[in-house]
């Protein structure tokens, strides 16, 4: 392979995949955060709405 501009080609590929990789990581983190928030809100509503079953669980402990 031609060595003249091999390093720049390497940088190019590195940069391209680094950008995509960073995006995938941010996507994964956002997904995790959203799932956590969803659980929180569901609990909040669960405590409000169906207070009866929540109390039963407490007693069983």
């Amino acid at each position: 392979m031609d060595a003249r501009n091999f390093t720049f080609m390497f940088y190019g590929f590195l940069a391209a995949w680094l950008i995509v990789l960073l995006y995938v990581i941010s996507l994964a983190r956002r997904g995790a955060r959203l799932n956590r928030e969803l659980e929180q809100v569901k609990q909040l509503i669960g405590a409000d709405r169906a207070s009866e079953p929540a109390r039963l669980e407490d007693r069983s402990r």
Binding site: F13, V20, Y23, L34, L38
Partner: protein, 228 residues
């Protein structure tokens, strides 16, 4: 079902990409004038086309949201724009590195470069606007309006700058030139890598759309909690 589809798509994209990379680095010969660096084209051009397809899809999806008011279009538009911006950035960065070697400069106000940059700026604004609005219906309407303005602006930029300066290599794909500008093996490689990158983009869009739906669910549950 949908999860499995996303995983299958990602795996297929990965396999195709591995095969492509093997061919790009080890099978294809160097280009006569440019040497090794020309290989960037296999990511540069597919990323650009993926971005363009994405913006066009976002325009259609925004118009669809404005006409039918279905949130599915809004979520898809937002996801498509986000992924397109990522690939546009890949396009610009790889292009810039290539230009540094071949033209000796990182940047020039060529019409393709300008319109690519304007796209990234406008649609970054779109993504920021979405973050700044909390109420999902308002967010969907306003960002759809911005998307329409943005896409039309990109067309105006493209058309206006096209009349004037250009330094960028002309079209190489046979569908635009009628053939003869590029070695058939390389052209085939371009299409194969375009397929791989498009598959990755679609998988990302599907994941992102799911997140949009989750975010909307969280919002509506919060409203229920507040109302109770």
């Amino acid at each position: 079902m949908r999860d499995k589809f996303v995983v299958a798509l990602a795996v297929a994209a990965g396999v195709l990409l591995a095969f492509n990379l093997y061919r790009i680095f080890l099978v294809l010969p160097d280009e006569a004038l440019q040497g090794a660096i020309y290989r960037i084209i296999f990511f540069h051009v597919p990323a650009a086309i993926t971005g363009m397809i994405g913006y066009f899809a976002a325009l259609l999806l925004s118009l669809a949201y404005l006409s039918f008011g279905n949130f599915r279009y809004d979520s898809l538009a937002a996801s498509v724009v986000e992924v397109s911006v990522v690939f546009s950035v890949v396009n610009i960065v790889t292009g810039s590195i290539w230009a540094r070697v071949i033209w000796g400069i990182w940047w020039t106000w060529d019409y393709r470069l300008t319109s690519a940059l304007v796209c990234v700026l406008i649609f970054s604004g779109y993504l920021m606007l979405r973050r700044a609005i909390d109420e999902p219906t308002q967010r969907a309407r306003l960002s759809a309006a911005l998307c329409v303005f943005g896409c039309i602006d990109v067309v105006i930029v493209w058309k206006s700058i096209e009349w004037f300066r250009t330094q960028h290599p002309g079209p190489v794909l046979s569908i635009r030139t009628g053939g003869g500008r590029i070695d058939p093996a390389m052209e085939q490689m371009l299409y194969l890598n375009f397929a791989a990158i498009l598959m990755i983009a679609i998988a990302l869009v599907l994941i992102r759309t799911r997140q949009e739906a989750t975010a909307r669910e969280i919002d509506s549950l919060r409203r229920i909690a507040n109302a109770a």
